[in-house]
Amino acid sequence: MSEVAFADGARVRIVDLGKPGHVRTPQYVRGKVGVIERFGGTYENPEDRAYGRGRGTAVQLFRVRLRQRDIWPDYPGCEADTLEIEIYEHWLRPEPTGEAQ
């Protein structure tokens, strides 16, 4: 197995690949910044598998923790509230430390 692409705690941006069809990255987190919560294992890329392509294309899956305020600027809850979501490695880019967004 190849090396794990992101370490726990690393800052990442979820990019918008603009990919249509059976993708597992919902619109509401595209472009948002969070940190890697944990590596979730390696899976066949569902974006290919759903169309009968790419069986065996292994991609790494990460759980990303985001602050709700970074997802929804007008989030109606508390400052500390968070959301975690599973994102495949090709939707993630390292994000320099600094202000989110």
Partner: protein, 213 residues
Amino acid sequence: MTADHSHSHDHTHPHPVNEDDDMDLTEHEAKFLALKAMLIEQGILDAAEIQARVEVNELKTPHQAARMVARAWVDPAYKARMMADAKQAALELDIPVTEAALVALENTPDLHNVIVCTLCSCYPRSLLGEPPAFYVSKAYRSRTVREPRRVLREFGLTLPEETEIRVHDSNADLRYVVLPQRPDGTEGLSESDLAALVPRDALIGCAFAKTPS
């Protein structure tokens, strides 16, 4: 609908759910029975394998996850194993797990976890059975990530401002189960009595465990 479904009616009678009901099959039932027969005929599956899987499916109820919660409440070493690898912890209790990976999320006075699948209906079926109607509704799926405190209030859970709400979007390959807080006044209860205090919704993060009456 088959061609010989000739009697006129307004669909108030029940359509059959078993192949030996004395009524016409629906299109999906006919397809299901044909596919099953073909798989057996081609030697891809045999009847015993299908029956074995039906039996596994019938074991999938929220009681399985409730057993894990009760064990975790009484056995700190088990709880540690469950937090590290919930799939292994389920297998330890002879729960047949069909998911690739299971993650346990512990609720505490400082942190409340709640699970949603915004994209469809990803759900830990081995531990909880089929998801409830609310879980697959567009309202729950869209609102839980956007305004979780309001959604939880509608379930009767008002959480203090100091408690962090953490929403888990179960959108890909992992599946989640919540370990609710152990209610007060449950010291000395047996594991099976404790398991009876854990409603399904507490395992999703939409309810608390019950206090004993």
